[in-house]
Symmetry: C2
Subunit: 272 residues, 2 copies
């Protein structure tokens, strides 16, 4: 911890907020209504329509630092609930929410920073969650390395138009691309559609590749991998999961590695 006041965690869905909270001394946990985190009870639940009073409340509590932890899909806005100050932000809120993920997140960071709060990344408060280069489970073949290189170029091209953070490639062929529905939906799609599309039945079974978008602000919405990702990758017939080292959250590392070993999948934190 730095600074005098507590760090505020803006908790989204999933277990990340609880993991981050465990790494902090005196966290103040806030969650958007309708996007409850798992494994911890928020100190405060707020709505986007009342963002300005919420930011004032953080200031009153002496909060100086904020970390976003977990997925928040775009909440629906109820016009009746806006306070006058937040109502003045509606054009900015709508512009952010109608852009891609990056635009939405840049907009959110800007609003918090303008309220005098420092926005930091999960890796700054819990560095163990973001693996550096290395193979964490299984074996990576030359075919897997080619597939990872191709998938990385696809994810990079998608990032340039602010779409997705993942792709599935097998034997050089792109079996699926991540869009708004997310990684689990992508893997389920490949499980349903990909089996007959690999040209060589004995060839590389393919991989999921995850990376932040090029130029993405790494303080929010880093792609994440966990035991459930391994289970869905196995169901999709993949050989493993690779990701950009230093740019992806590994949730529950022990359980994720154990699941990969159990299913015979590799986990590869791929350096440049």
């Amino acid at each position: 911890m730095t600074g005098a006041g507590p760090t505020a965690i803006i908790a989204g869905r999933g277990g990340l907020a609880a993991i981050v909270a465990a790494a902090l001394e005196r966290p103040f946990v806030a969650a958007i209504e309708g996007f409850a985190p798992e494994g911890l009870v928020p100190d405060l639940v707020f709505r986007v329509e009342r963002l300005v009073p919420f930011l004032d409340h953080l200031a009153d509590r002496g909060v100086t630092r904020v970390v976003f932890a977990g997925a928040v899909q775009r909440p629906r806005l109820d016009p009746a609930l806006f306070d006058p100050a937040t109502a003045r932000l509606v054009p900015r809120l709508l512009a952010a929410m109608q852009g891609g993920d990056d635009a939405a997140l840049r907009g959110a960071i800007a609003l918090f920073e303008e309220a005098g709060l420092e926005v930091v990344g999960v890796d700054q408060v819990a560095p163990g969650l973001v693996p550096g280069p290395g193979i964490l489970a299984g074996t990576v073949t030359e075919g897997d390395r080619r597939d990872a290189a191709r998938a990385a170029s696809i994810v990079q091209a998608l990032g340039a138009v602010d779409v997705g953070q993942g792709a599935v490639v097998a034997q050089g062929l792109c079996l699926g691309v991540e869009a708004l529905p997310g990684t689990d939906a992508l893997l389920d799609f490949v499980a349903r559609t990909g089996a007959a599309l690999r040209p060589d039945p004995q060839g590389a079974r393919g991989l999921l590749y995850k990376a932040p978008k090029p130029g993405q602000d790494r303080r929010v919405d880093l792609p994440a991998i966990g035991p459930e990702t391994v289970a869905r990758a196995a169901a999709a017939g993949l050989a493993g999961i690779a990701w950009a080292a230093g740019g992806v959250l590994l949730l529950d590392r022990a359980a994720t590695v154990a699941a990969a070993q159990d299913k015979g999948l590799f986990l590869w934190s791929r350096g440049e």
Copy 2:
């Protein structure tokens, strides 16, 4: 028709080959084993493992011009079936088949051209299949126009890495991206996953956008739209279908327009 000999149609799956055949005087129709066209009986069925004898056969028949019509997914290769001449092409065949769609198609065109055949596009033998700019059904809103512009930029970025020819965008958000499994699989994916992802329930319902890849050789594998595309787009809750004018095949125009009118979807052949 030009030239003295017949034009050969390399027929893939679907009804396109029959439509193209109807536009030609004396077509010679060949199909790859396992990829039978609909609505016509091929004059010859061949296997990729015996490509050189097939090309020799075309020459013997006096064929000078070839048009590719319909989808051919990558066939599996049986090592036992290669003739010696085609066996010498295996490195090129494998390199083409392990690349993306463009690489595979460029490879196929090159092999036919090296055999002395002129490879032409469907639009050259049946220009009515490729609509120019205009709205063919329904009404296009300003929101739809914004979504189409965003989808076009996404498809263009994907084309740069040789992935897909389509995307679904609603209210600026990318609900899905086409990869190897194709347009129908994309629309089914959006039908399953997209309903809850549109921020404004009263806002634009989104559209499927199709375009050839930038720099794509338009002699092969133009994206195609037909009545089935309309049915699946309707099932996915979309407002309509837009495409790059002059770059997309409209199969069975009358039935496609009627289906769109019946479902209340727009069909928009979008100029630059």
